[in-house]
């Protein structure tokens, strides 16, 4: 529904429709996960029924360069900080979860995340 409501906002110059839709869906999913911060979806039956269709080659080609650039910039980060960024983005890990996993205070996690994203964005900028 969010994607439907925001269809007019899509700007082809800012990226592919797939990543645009995925970003909206991801934000919606994060809203749900964070709202029910003590819930897990591991036991969601339908979530366990996985079967995928490989993306079309054209779609892969369109995103391959972006992925390559981002991967190269991620690899320039300190390994621990890179892991934090990836776990946060890919796994939806919260600051508290990252704090537990890496054994650092939440305040430190926040600082490292801020600096890591700043470094990433600097690396990605033309």
């Amino acid at each position: 529904m969010k994607i439907w409501e925001r269809a007019a906002d899509f700007d082809p110059g800012r990226g592919s429709p797939t990543t645009w839709m995925a970003t909206i869906a991801r934000n919606r999913a994060l809203d749900e996960v964070r709202r029910h911060s003590h819930a897990s979806i591991e036991d969601t039956p339908e979530a366990l029924s996985v079967a995928s269709d490989e993306p079309l080659p054209l779609q892969l080609a369109e995103t391959a360069e972006d992925v390559r650039r981002l991967k190269e910039c991620l690899e320039k980060l300190d390994p621990k900080r890179r892991d934090m960024v990836v776990l946060a983005y890919m796994n939806g890990s919260s600051r508290e979860e990252l704090s537990q996993k890496f054994g650092h205070p939440v305040a430190t996690i926040k600082t490292w995340l801020h600096r890591s994203i700043a470094q990433l964005r600097s690396c990605l900028s033309p």
């Binding site: 529904m1 439907w4 925001r6 429709p17 797939t18 990543t19 645009w20 839709m21 995925a22 869906a25 991801r26 999913a29 994060l30 749900e32 996960v33 964070r34 709202r35 029910h36 911060s37 819930a39 979806i41 591991e42 036991d43 969601t44 339908e46 979530a47 029924s49 996985v50 995928s52 269709d53 080659p57 892969l60 995103t63 391959a64 360069e65 992925v67 390559r68 981002l70 991967k71 690899e75 890179r82 892991d83 960024v85 776990l87 946060a88 983005y89 890919m90 796994n91 919260s94 600051r95 979860e97 990252l98 996993k101 996690i109 926040k110 995340l113 801020h114 994203i117 700043a118 964005r121």
Partner: protein, 285 residues
């Protein structure tokens, strides 16, 4: 409080997804009225978006497309108010930290050779990690469904004539700075389109007024719902000017305004309390 963050740091954590529920709700409000913040968020989201393409696809539950089309067309049986998603129905459990190892992820991806083949190969390998990938399954299910359904939705758009009226249903929103500081409790009867606001711990600044706003994508800008007092409830206030989708999906925000309310009809600054509606039986956090 998130307003103490530098905008770039706040945008970074919003895009990464590490803010808590109250902070995300506040940013959702602020981005509607702060163009700089909104632009910063979009920029970070755009830079990180390629990572999404490394997430394994998931076949969505069969009934999602039907429910989605039904909702769009106003013909579905699902209530448009706070639909109970699969996430909502999840059992409490331990957070799955490290469900996917970053090193594994980044060792895949694209190389210097045939990028298409390598990326496709990477996706196959990452797919093998599905058993450990948790939260993104539902997300990608939604994305796949929505992407596959988009063409169909276009055809349905012309037939979108009404959103079905919800039966009388009570929802609540805790308007707060954070989970430890509830300021107002908002109770909404979505079916009747009425709300009541009861102060909990709000202390109104001298010479100022609290003003309540409704914020939703379908509204062009935050709309005032009137002033709030810190020592008396407001009862049975009408929301008849808004449809049920906006009422149920909106963010509700309180700002501090000059005595008597905003002189411009728009929020004068960042909200001090925010919240979203939940079914009355659920706890916010």
């Amino acid at each position: 409080m998130t307003r103490d963050y530098d905008i770039s740091d706040l945008a970074a954590e919003y895009a990464l997804g590490t803010l808590d529920s109250a902070e995300r709700a506040e940013v959702d409000v602020r981005r509607a009225i702060e163009p700089d913040l909104a632009a910063a968020i979009v920029a970070v989201e755009r830079d990180l978006a390629p990572l999404i393409m490394l997430v394994p696809d998931v076949e969505p539950p069969a009934n999602i497309r039907t429910r989605l089309l039904g909702t769009i067309a106003g013909l579905g049986s699902r209530s448009p108010v706070a639909p109970k998603s699969s996430i909502d129905g999840a059992e409490p459990g331990t957070a799955n930290i490290g469900a996917i190892r970053p090193s594994e992820l980044l060792s895949r991806g694209v190389g210097d050779g045939d990028t298409v083949i390598e990326l496709a190969h990477a996706r196959e390998e990452i797919a093998a990690l599905r058993g450990r990938v948790s939260r993104w399954r539902v997300l990608t299910a939604g994305v796949s469904t929505l992407a596959a359904s988009l063409a169909g939705l276009v055809m349905y758009r012309d037939t979108l004539v009404r959103v079905p009226e919800a039966a009388s249903q009570t929802f609540v929103a805790v308007l707060q700075k954070d989970a430890q500081s509830p300021a107002f409790l908002m109770t909404v009867d979505v079916g009747k389109r009425q709300f009541t606001v009861r102060p909990v711990s709000a202390k109104q600044p001298a010479g100022k007024s609290y003003e309540l706003w409704i914020i939703h994508d379908t509204l062009n800008a935050p709309k005032s719902l009137g002033l709030l007092a810190d020592n008396a409830p407001r009862a049975s206030v009408s929301l008849a000017a808004f449809d049920t989708r906006a009422i149920s999906g909106a963010t509700y925000a309180v700002t501090v305004e000059p005595s008597g309310g905003s002189p411009t009809g728009a929020p004068s600054g960042a909200p001090v309390f925010v919240g979203k509606l939940l079914p009355a039986g659920l706890k916010a956090d």
